[in-house]
Amino acid sequence: MINILLIFWIISAIFIIREKKIYRMIIFLGIFSLINSAIFLVLGAPDVSLSEAAAGAFTTIFLIICLEKYYGFDESLVVTKKKEKTNFIKALLPIIFSGVLFLLFWYFMPPFTYNSYMKYQYLTYFNQDVGSHNPVTTVYLGYRVYDTLFEALILLVSVVAVKHVSWYSDSYVKDGEHSTIESNPIASYTIRAISPLVLLFGISMISVGLDTPGGGFQGGVVIASFFICRYMIYNVYDIPVKLITLIEKLIFVSIFLIPIFVVFVGLRTLVPETNLVVFQNIYIVLMNSLIGMKVTCGFVILFYRYIVVDRRTC
């Protein structure tokens, strides 16, 4: 089962490599990420599978918006050139080079076995330490919460970087202005019917992260896709980017402070032993929803920064 899926994985990557048209390449990338998601499910990682399914959709959206936007700028995409004669040896050289590197890597690869005592420690004690039924959530909100903190910091830095890199003073769309791209009525009405379900799905995915697959990262990406639906229905740029950036920074500070309070002061010293599980569950749900809100804010800002300059307005 896993071998067949991994062979399909390699074949889809070869399709991406051999493709000449960039739009088709992006569609093949979507198929690649679907196969990835299936493999993660077979490997026993439903959390990662949900995360990858949402992430693949977002990567496809970003690539297509980017391609639409730079299509007008890049002359080499519009003007067709004469076909250059490709030298056979020149085309074969990169294949030989990367093949030789692969064989070297394979020969010197250490034995692919892995035996971690951390696994047994986590699986034995996760329920009494943090009080959840999902060890993955326990690891990234309990034992390794500072890794999650720095991940949140990287997302914040990337949002700030995109905001500053993609700044054009001459072609800035004002708040409340409609996009010049016409919206399709059938697509608009369908999305209008579906989008409340998307929002509910995201909220439920965050709230069930305590006991079943799901959590802040996956639910946040799904809620961000609700805001994309909103843009596709109304076609108007009216998201207050500065306010959302401020909210994101405040949430980041609270993600920083709550674990410090819980880890260094300790829940066991504050609450009685009989109510400990309730407070542990409150901590997990609170942190999951904070991370979900932060991921939502980050991706909404990224998406609206990309669409702020339409292809025809500049």
């Binding site: 071998n3 390699i10 990557a13 991406i16 490599i17 960039i22 390449m25 992006i26 990338l29 690649f32 990835n36 490997l43 026993g44 439903p46 959390d47 992430a55 977002f58 990567t59 970003f62 690539l63 980017c66 936007k69 730079y70 890049d74 080499s76 995409l77 990169p94 990367s98 590197l101 064989l103 020969y107 034995p111 692919f112 076995t113 971690s116 696994k119 986590y122 699986l123 034995t124 996760f126 009494q128 039924h133 999902n134 060890p135 993955v136 326990t138 690891v139 990234y140 390794r144 890794d147 999650t148 991940e151 990287i154 997302l155 970087a161 995109v162 697959p213 990262f217 920064r305 990309y306």
Partner: protein, 126 residues
């Protein structure tokens, strides 16, 4: 050492497919796509570590106190999974930064070919 076949070979193949694409790509946007392929190979390598046939996801039934009554050999390792969730989300952020730099580059230099960009750079125009 030696050419032993294991599941870990597949992500290595994927890494070098991405590498091949990166050294032969002519446009900047294809380079961005191949970088995300190489990143996915790393994520797959971490998740394949310690895989056995018939592994079950690490989700304890509600009511049990963890996995104390289970055979823990056949439960997937939660530690790499928790790290890889964050790695996937960071991957989107990295792609977003790359693409926004690409848009600015195209606006300023009117091209996205690596060879033409190299020519512009050597002439000192850009």
């Amino acid at each position: 050492m030696g050419f032993e076949f294991s599941l870990g070979v597949f992500p290595v193949i994927m890494f070098f497919i991405g590498y091949y694409g990166l050294i032969t790509s002519k446009k900047v946007i294809t380079s961005v796509i191949f970088i995300s392929l190489m990143e996915m190979s790393g994520i797959m390598f971490f998740l394949l570590l310690g895989y056995r046939v018939g592994m079950i996801p690490p989700i304890a039934p509600v009511g049990d106190a963890g996995f104390l009554t289970y055979n823990m050999e056949y439960i997937a390792d939660p530690f790499p999974q928790a790290l890889m969730i964050t790695a996937i989300i960071i991957g989107i952020a990295v792609t977003a930064i790359n693409l926004s730099m690409l848009i600015t580059l195209c606006k300023q230099s009117k091209t996205s070919n690596w060879s033409e960009l190299k020519k512009l750079y050597s002439e000192g125009d850009f």
